[in-house]
């Protein structure tokens, strides 16, 4: 047992494992990860492509043999070194240095947090239109009120803002008019919502005989007079995406595709306008491991700073 522990806490083993992880990480950035097998055969000679695929190097960071096992071994080595070093420091009567212990403890917690994060992380991309909502697992509702997409004069994106209301199952408003932006996520009961992107979509504005105006979103349908009309997409035929819309009209067993422009009629409704707007793409993420990762990173930073403040004081 003592022999095993002595081997496990060896600095040589630590250096060898760090060197291995360094070299393989470098290779993993040079070899495409997660691509289709054919890509490796196109990029590399046959034997090399086979080697990459058979060893699992095409999914290096998920490979048990190439990455996870050496990383686990490094964790065991780090833990043994930390315990051994900490005990030695405690035995000292003076000039104790706990900076490296704190740093190593932070790295151990970070490793555990990383494992939790990698295995428990889940995410889903949600496309929300103004007025639409999603129901969260606790039955509360996240509703998009408005979405603003600003651009700089040169066309680059300046800001994406989703104005959201978070409503509890009993109707209480938990977050009113919350402005969700990139770098400013909304956190709620273990879920984090991110302003990820935007998605263009089209709306048909229709006027009823009583002069009321209805909006028909792309992909949705409207029923009247025993027929249903589905707004498929703006017509690309003329190259003008705003000029015409493709409608699938279903009446009984008859289905036909019609093109409509402003001024045309869909049943009793008059087409007023085909508008292009932006939907908000919100990323919903759950990552329980991050709760451990965050303090672990601060402990690493603190341990590193303490270690070298002491060292530098000794040097100068």
């Amino acid at each position: 047992m003592k022999y095993f522990f002595r081997r496990l806490k060896s600095v040589r083993l630590a250096v060898a494992l760090i060197a291995y992880l360094t070299l393989t990480c470098v290779l993993a950035t040079l070899v495409p990860q997660g691509a289709a097998p054919g890509k490796y055969h196109n990029l590399y000679p046959e034997f090399l492509a086979d080697l990459i695929l058979q060893t699992g190097f095409n999914r290096f960071f998920n490979s048990f043999l190439l990455f996870l096992f050496p990383a686990f071994l490094f964790f065991a080595n780090l833990s043994a070194c930390t315990v051994d070093r900490f005990i030695r420091e405690l035995r000292k009567k003076s000039a104790r240095r706990h900076g490296p212990d704190i740093l190593h403890l932070g790295l151990m917690l970070l490793t555990i947090g990383s494992i939790l994060s990698a295995s428990l992380h889940s995410e889903k991309s949600l496309t929300l239109f103004p007025g639409s909502y999603i129901t969260l697992p606790d039955e509360s509702i996240l509703r998009l009120e408005t979405f603003h997409f600003e651009r700089y004069p040169d066309g680059r994106p300046k800001n994406w803002t989703s104005v959201l209301n978070l409503i509890a199952p009993d109707g209480r408003v938990l977050k009113a008019d919350y402005k969700l932006r990139v770098n400013s996520p909304l956190r709620y009961k273990g879920y984090t919502f991110y302003q990820a992107s935007y998605s263009p979509y089209f709306i048909l504005e229709l006027r009823a005989p009583d002069a009321s105006v209805t909006q028909l979103y792309q992909g949705r349908q409207i029923s009247m007079d025993g027929a249903s009309y589905s707004f498929m997409a703006p017509s690309m035929a003329s190259g003008d995406t705003g000029g015409e819309a493709l409608i699938r009209a279903t009446e009984g067993s008859n289905t036909r595709i019609i093109r409509v422009s402003p001024g045309d009629r869909i049943g009793s409704l008059e087409v007023l306008e085909i508008k292009e707007e932006s939907a908000s793409v919100v990323q919903a993420v759950r990552d329980p491991g991050y709760l451990l990762v965050l303090p672990a990173m601060f402990i690493v930073a603190l341990g590193t700073a303490l270690t070298f403040i002491q060292k530098i004081k000794e040097l100068v």
Binding site: V11, R12, A14, V15, I18, A19, L21, T22, C25, V26, A28, T29, L30, Q33, F61, S114, S117, H121, E123, Y152, D154, R156, P157, K158, N159, W160, R181, V182, N183, S184, P185, T192, Y194, Q195, A196, Q283, V285, D287, Y290, V293, L294, M297, F298, V300, A301, T304, A305, T307, F308, K311, I312, L315, V316
Partner: protein, 266 residues
């Protein structure tokens, strides 16, 4: 924009002249350092800082969002470091360490002036609009500026036979890494991961830039273990310090231009 270009160009020529003066001084028998170049470095670094402040005021955001601005910041920090090294009394002053670091400042600015690198002062896209950007980028480059000094002294170590000189150079290399390593750890890894979680919902994605920052950190970790715990005084620590710096160069330039990923900003 013209004023900004004048500041940058003036700084470049001051650095160039000061580095040339240092080079000329290396051939003098009198080993005392020249009295002008370190002050010239401070003046030029202040000009670069002024340029970055003007760009920040124009875009109403901290000017550290493009490769050009990062290079200016990196060069300014390194120039201040060269000045500090010249003025401090605790470490032996090596004119060649100062000259090598100054030469790298000139190279950084020469790269910044390349037509391949856009120079417009542009306000940031949504992903970059974060206070964490300031912490992440500034700490990373401050750490890397110390790695430049360690690289130069490690390189000199490898070309020196004299034991006393090697001890001196080893001390400078170690001292520079002892400051650079915690700064780089905080900037590149800790602040970077916190920002990534706030912006993308993932604190680590194995993106090429992240992986290469980790590779750099691991190389310096090996250096510290070899130097501090294994107590090697041979060439290995210096070889690792040189490799570590080359990793920072690839992380900055190589990844930006050769490997595409989440950090592909120019």
């Amino acid at each position: 924009m013209i004023f900004s270009a004048v500041l940058g160009t003036s700084a470049f020529f001051i650095f160039l002249a000061a580095t040339a003066l240092q080079a000329a001084w290396l051939f003098r028998r009198d080993k005392r350092p020249d009295p002008i170049s370190s002050w010239a470095f401070v003046v030029a670094a202040v000009l670069l800082t002024a340029d970055l402040i003007i760009r920040s005021l124009r875009t109403r955001f901290v000017a550290l969002t493009s490769t050009y601005e990062s290079l200016l910041f990196y060069a300014a920090v390194l120039a201040f470091l060269v000045f500090w090294y010249r003025r401090q009394k605790k470490l032996t002053y090596w004119p060649l360490v100062s000259f090598g670091s100054s030469f790298i400042v000139v190279v950084l600015l020469a790269v910044a002036s390349s037509p391949l690198i856009p120079k417009e002062a542009l306000p940031p896209i949504p992903a970059l609009q974060s206070a964490w950007l300031l912490l992440h980028v500034s700490f990373t480059f401050i750490g890397e500026a110390f790695f430049v000094a360690s690289f130069v002294s490690a390189l000199l170590f490898l070309f020196t036979k004299d034991e006393a000189r090697r001890l001196d150079l080893d001390r400078i290399t170690y001292m520079a890494i002892a400051v650079g390593y915690p700064t780089f750890t905080a900037g590149a890894l800790v602040f970077g991961a916190i920002w990534a979680e706030r912006a993308w919902g993932r604190w680590w994605s194995w993106d090429p830039k992240e992986t290469w920052a980790l590779v750099t950190w691991l190389v310096y970790t090996i250096y510290l273990h070899v130097r501090l715990i294994m107590k090697r005084k041979d060439s290995w620590p210096s070889i690792l310090a040189v490799i570590g710096f080359l990793c920072t160069v690839f992380t900055f330039f190589g990844v930006n231009y050769l490997l595409r990923g989440l950090h592909s900003y120019r």
